[in-house]
Assembly symmetry: C2
Homo-oligomer: 457 residues x 2
């Protein structure tokens, strides 16, 4: 512990400088104009891995953005850990809400502020530096592989295919991921569940052109009114999703497990205060943590149509659009749900509009058993650094590729996240506390140590 502490202390500034170089690349995977930045980020990762001590590292093509793969094989018989992370980030809009340039990281109030500071550049970079320490100190007891992709934020559309093609190269005993968060700096936790995801774009077309709302209003259906009504028909006042069959495959969590979950430290008052909410809203009969942890959800992520400029324009628009997503829990099949939603939306569409509901992407949910050797190793590593046993928690977030790894490669993942709920990932002013960043670099080498021990048992 002392040695790694000293190593981090001695290299703090360099670590930040190097991380900032990575953050400055605006690798937004959902915007085609950043295609070149995806290649820059991939080359940067190759450089990072080689500098940290990888035997080899290369930028590999997929049908979409490139993947950076690197490895250090110390002994074919040693256990192999594959670090999975992503180099791509979310868009930055609304840009005007950012207090600093999202791609020019600054340190203020003990935190790094930038897009990707946490998700996932900050968190992934901890692995590079933990690896560097282990190589330099000669303490590496596992083979290490790095799989850094560039499409996580758009649902990893090409990684399953990449995994299929490179099964041999990607063989490992466990996949280690830092792309989640912990409850609080003094309440370490490990994510044992991830929700699945399905994401659609819906287009409602009324008349073939925008019309004068006075001359046509009242006689021609307004696509915004229609879309609003259709959205309203997807959820009742108790927060229950109204798509027929939606809950059919949801496994109810036992009263016992719910009782255990209820013991996790949580203040609803603080939660509401931090979000400036008078009241929370969610599915009736479930607590806030249950609503994000064990229940599926339905959210409109974006909506637009008609006149959205300043002042008043009296128009009856031709089209209205929405981006819609659900989060799914274990046993819900995202492909089945994807179809179910499209059928439902088509079925409730009135005859005076034309509906186009397109499934954009999705992925299954994931559960990590807490008796896995790798889970135990993570538990011990956290305890050494944070002084407490980490709490196992189910996250509301989704990393669809984690379930795919299990399906395609047959490898489980351990989600050792060092983010915090206040990191504003996917939002303006994303940030990552320096303490979490450095603690991550301290914790990860211990994981390798304990994992090697567990695998010998």
């Amino acid at each position: 512990m002392n040695e790694i502490n000293n190593y981090v202390k001695a290299n703090e500034d360099r670590f930040l400088d190097e991380l900032f170089e990575l953050i400055r690349i605006p690798s937004i995977s959902s915007l085609p104009e950043h295609k070149e930045d995806m290649y820059r980020a991939a080359e940067k990762w190759k450089e990072i891995l080689l500098a940290a001590g990888a035997d080899k590292a290369e930028v590999m093509e997929t049908n979409g953005n490139p993947v950076t793969y690197g490895e250090k094989i110390i002994d074919p018989d040693a256990p192999t850990v594959m670090v999975y992370a992503h180099m791509d980030v979310m868009p930055v809009d609304p840009l005007e809400k950012w207090k600093t340039d999202p791609f020019e990281p600054v340190v203020k109030d003990g935190k790094i502020w930038a897009r990707g500071a946490d998700d996932d550049k900050g968190q992934s970079f901890m692995h590079a530096k933990a690896f560097e320490y282990l190589v330099k100190s000669g303490k590496l007891e596992c083979n290490v592989k790095f799989l850094i992709e560039g499409e996580e934020e758009i649902g990893s559309p090409n990684l399953p295919d990449f995994c299929e093609k490179h099964k041999e190269m990607l063989k490992a005993d466990i996949i280690l991921v830092s792309d989640t968060s912990m409850i609080a700096p003094d309440v370490p936790s490990i994510t044992t569940g991830l929700r699945g995801l399905a994401y659609w774009q819906v287009e409602v077309t009324g008349p073939n052109i925008d019309l004068h709302s006075g001359l046509f209003g009242g006689a021609v259906a307004n696509p915004i009114n229609v879309l609003s009504k259709m959205i309203a028909q997807t959820m009742d006042d108790d927060g229950r999703i109204l798509i027929p069959g939606f809950y059919d495959d949801v496994v109810e969590v036992s009263a016992e497990e719910r009782a255990k979950m209820a013991k996790a430290p949580f203040s609803l008052d603080d939660y509401k205060k931090s979000l400036d909410l008078k009241e929370v809203f969610g599915e009736k009969g479930y607590s806030t943590n249950e609503r994000t942890g064990i229940r599926p959800t339905f959210d409109v992520c974006g909506i637009w149509g008609g006149y959205t400029g300043e002042g008043a324009k009296t128009v009856l628009p031709s089209k209205a659009y929405a981006k819609i997503s659900t989060r799914l829990v274990p046993n819900q099949d995202h492909n089945k749900i994807a179809k179910m939603f499209v059928e439902y939306f088509e079925s409730i569409a009135p005859e005076y509009v034309i509906i186009k509901a397109e499934y954009l992407h999705g992925g299954p949910s994931y559960v990590c058993p807490i008796d896995l050797p790798a889970y135990k190793a993570a538990e011990k590593a956290f305890k050494d650094v944070y002084g407490k046993d980490p709490v196992p928690v189910r996250s509301g977030g989704s990393i669809p590729i984690i379930a795919t790894f299990e399906e395609v490669l047959g490898i489980k993942s351990v989600l050792m996240g060092f983010g915090l709920g206040s990191d504003a990932i996917h939002s303006p002013n994303e940030n990552f506390p320096l303490e979490q960043f450095y603690n991550g670099i301290r914790t990860i080498p211990l994981f390798y140590k304990y994992f090697a021990e567990e695998m010998k048992k």
Copy 2:
């Protein structure tokens, strides 16, 4: 008739050149960046009026955009006609839908294509040229005043005050307006009713920042879902507006008048075909023409919130917005309705969001009696040019200032519009048929002639 026909024929090209100079000024009143263009348009109108033969013309300040006023007084005892028109135009978005530059007019297929080609630059310019003809030919039998404002498309917020201040200057026997349309080139009509208007902007705030839809989705109300539901709660499946008291002051039109209206030539099939609609939608129990002519309506003119870019972003947005308008019929008070809507929206807002419903502008409806001398003059003028008695129709559109003229100045208006339903006013590819433009210039001098005759009776 022959003389004016010859005059129009001889000057066709010049009329277009002059009109195009006016159209090229992008006088969009709702966008602050076009403030200077409003002054350019006002100066242009001063030039147009003086060139056409006005004794005087000046650009006058208001608390908003300037007004151009001009007059020619031939005899204090002669009847006075005041032409009201507006120099401002609607925004042009979505710009990508335009086939030509909205502010670079072109003539194609016998039509002028440009923003303002009809509404109201094309139509107002007919008055300048009809006036020019009357002055040049020595046939002017009325005093003429021109009141050209720059805020009609944003609800004329400063014109009522301007009228109050300049009551003496604006004295007239009738106000003549060409800012409406007729049924078809072979079915002349005069607008005898205008709907009132109320326009709001609504903001729904959930959490104080955009959130990750996975980590918070299901536990925090989504403002887009909430706004959609609130919009859905404003109208039932029969197209009835659900705001309590909304219909209280609506005067039901008699069965006799409805029967008369039903005789106006109208093909629902053609209507649907022209808009690419499988079906129309509106208040149950009323025909399409009744829905726009004699019934109030409720339309969302714009909606936006969350992620609206390309691809998928999983976000639970902090805010959602809508621009909402109603069209009102005679006897409905727009100020009362304005308050009613805000109260209703606040009352249906759930406790887990914050609502801001702001009334942007509005105005009362208007009815023109068909026994008015000026109406009779307009009727005769149309018959001379179009060969048929014009049909009196109630328009679905609103020109709130028309009712204000009656209230403040005590002057009725006659709405002699030469636009067509296919002119796409307020939409991309606005256009105005040359034939209507030239017919307008032919018809207007006849109105002056017949009006002078009627006033002598």
